[in-house]
């Protein structure tokens, strides 16, 4: 007994180190296979508020640019509206709406890591929930992963865990959008079969298979494509429309029927077994 106690006292630093290391590795490895930890994220109260305050200051340096972006988007939407002869306004019945939009601001952006998370200033109080889609005026951005009362973290498309349904515009050939961790302006589209005719510069948009994003949100254009080693699927490099290094205003998309879709899919799967 004496010897055990002596041993512990002698090696207490080493034991402390091992103990703390196991805790850290536990958190880290757990997040490789599951979602980001519920508590270890920047949407909590202290970090959220500090990042928000610093963002309040830095926002002023990009106001001109942001205004220009919003005006450009308004211009595009007006163009669509007028050329479809819908008049100046459309009445929307709130019962019929599938998608509802909330706006938010990015308070922390990151794109240099293998797993990038973006923090936004909207949370549960603004009815933002996990698994909502986040887009910008130019294209897709990511999926909400964790929320607190006032903030939310978004799993960026620049994240090795990201996997989003995407298709080639004006066709129904769909694949998965992933990221190879190399460049922050290039993502990869896989699982497009070799019989699909492709051209460099083709536009890629979100597909209708996901219950998170509406169909047809722009993602990027084809930069180059090769057949993969098994020669049956393409691996395609896509240049993003979004400049991931410079994002301020975002839209959070909520699909009102998501729960219904998921429930149905779960039922079907359990029926199969």
């Amino acid at each position: 007994m004496q010897q055990i106690i002596n041993f512990i006292i002698r090696y207490k630093n080493f034991l402390l180190y091992i103990f703390l290391m196991i805790i850290s590795l536990g958190f880290t490895i757990q997040s490789h296979s599951y979602h980001q930890s519920r508590f270890f994220n920047s949407s909590n109260w202290i970090t959220g508020n500090i990042l928000d305050t610093s963002n309040d200051v830095s926002t002023y340096f990009g106001l001109d640019q942001e205004n220009q972006k919003l005006i450009d988007e308004n211009k595009r939407l007006r163009n669509l509206l007028f050329n479809n002869n819908l008049g100046d306004s459309i009445t929307l019945d709130s019962v019929q709406r599938t998608y509802t939009i909330t706006t938010g601001k990015v308070i922390k952006n990151s794109f240099a890591h293998p797993r990038n998370y973006i923090t936004i200033d909207q949370g549960e109080r603004d009815s933002v929930k996990p698994d909502m889609g986040v887009i910008t005026s130019k294209g897709i951005l990511g999926i909400v992963e964790n929320t607190s009362k006032n903030f939310a973290t978004v799993q960026s498309i620049l994240n090795e865990k990201s996997n989003i349904n995407a298709k080639i515009k004006n066709t129904d050939h769909f694949g998965s959008l992933i990221w190879d961790m190399k460049r922050f302006d290039v993502v990869q589209l896989v699982d497009i079969p070799r019989l699909v005719p492709l051209t460099i510069g083709d536009t890629i948009v979100t597909g209708g298979m996901s219950s998170i994003f509406p169909e047809g949100i722009p993602i990027g254009t084809i930069r180059k494509f090769d057949l993969n080693t098994s020669k049956s699927f393409y691996s395609i490099d896509i240049t993003l429309f979004n400049d991931m290094t410079n994002i301020k205003n975002v839209y959070i998309v909520n699909n009102a029927f998501r729960e219904e879709i998921l429930e149905l899919q779960n039922e079907t799967q359990t029926d199969d077994k």
Binding site: N13, L25, S37
Partner: protein, 169 residues
């Protein structure tokens, strides 16, 4: 004198965390270089202090950075590693005389200080990027990140070190 010591370390801790998460985490030099200047805390921390407390503080420091940067506990794992092996590195760099009462970091030569800092940075960055990328297939990517980020961290730490160095008294 003692309360002064604690006070200094608390201020250092807070300032380094804020500077790291608000400035250096957003630097993205060449698209991927984010220097980690908070290592200075572990470099400056008094040598005579209790080792267990030092490792504990290192853990808290890493965790604080992790909270802000959504990196799980990768920063924490790397800081406790350098906190744990710091005495070994010091014995390697300064020889046995760092165990004497009169030893001060400011009394050593410039070369020794830089070597000490470089070793801390290399160990820290190796642990950090190996955990972050987490695959041996991308070992070249790890190496590239360690070297590029390490060089940036070293330069910035030396600049900060000369700006806020402990007075020679």
């Amino acid at each position: 004198m003692i309360s002064n010591y604690y006070f200094l370390n608390v201020i250092r801790f807070t300032l380094l965390v804020l500077v790291q998460v608000l400035i250096f985490n957003r630097l993205n030099f060449f698209g991927f270089i984010n220097p980690m200047v908070y290592i200075l805390f572990l470099y400056w921390y008094p040598i005579k202090e209790n080792r267990a407390a030092f490792i504990g503080l290192g853990f808290l420091l890493g965790l604080a950075i992790d909270f802000f940067s959504d990196t799980m506990a990768i920063h924490a794992a790397s800081t406790i590693t350098i906190a744990y092996i710091r005495p070994a590195i010091m014995r390697f760099v300064f020889g046995v005389n760092f165990e004497f009462q009169s030893f001060k970091l400011s009394n050593t030569t410039q070369v020794q200080q830089i070597t000490f800092l470089t070793l801390l940075i290399i160990v820290h960055h190796l642990v950090f990027f190996m955990l972050e990328i987490f695959s041996l297939a991308n070992f070249l990517l790890v190496l590239k990140k360690v070297l590029a980020t390490g060089a940036a961290t070293l330069i910035l730490c030396l600049l900060f070190g000369s700006l806020f160095s402990v007075r020679k008294d």
